[in-house]
């Protein structure tokens, strides 16, 4: 499958808290994320999972740190949806 469709890359995006409920599991797949900015990832995510727009907001983490909207996502990055936190 990888060899037959090399041009479409799926990236696994990890989900926690309410994001897991929206994704229907601990992660979701988005196409062609590598090379895009975090801002573009947000747009793609909202198109595929409109329920994220119902949240108070969400952040994106890249390799265990908050990512700014203009950061570019690399192929091996760990990308995570961070819904509003509520620890403490």
């Amino acid at each position: 499958m990888d060899k037959l469709a090399p041009l479409i890359e799926h990236m696994k995006i990890l989900c926690f808290g309410v994001a897991r409920e929206i994704a229907g599991g601990p992660s979701l797949q988005l196409q062609d994320v590598a090379g895009k900015s975090v801002s573009e990832l947000r747009t793609a995510l909202l198109r595929q999972y409109p329920a994220f727009a119902e949240l108070t907001g969400f952040a994106v983490a890249r390799n265990e740190a908050y990512a700014t909207d203009d950061e570019v996502i690399g192929q091996d990055d760990e990308v995570v949806i961070i819904p509003p936190v509520s620890g403490g």
Partner: protein, 144 residues
Amino acid sequence: MADPTTTIDVALRDQPLDLDACYRFVQHSSCGGLCFFVGTIRDLNLGYPVTHLEFDAYDGMAVREMEKLAVAARDRFGLHAVALHHRKGDLAIGDVAVIVAVSSVHRAPAFEGCEWIIDELKKSVPIWKKEFRGDGSHWLNARP
């Protein structure tokens, strides 16, 4: 500034937290003021009876963010040591969710630093509470 590895103690665990362990970590002969915040699970939230809570955490990043906060507080308020322990998993009413422990030469920076850490933790550390009531459950802060 002292070596971070000896003055910062961060933990995220699914076992009960230990106030005395935090006390022993932060206490020091140079310090006259120690301040502790202990966050516990209340039986009532926004007027609704709560039966229990579930804490979800993005472990690696949560620990890194807690470490950043502890180091930032130590440097900003001139603290001697900071212990920051957070619970995850299922918690019952009365259980301890978080302990912030700080020590300093004088007491004012201890109070300031301790409160700053818990305020910031609630804004930035990737941990999520799911609240269970008699009539269902929901993730706190998630929706407007």
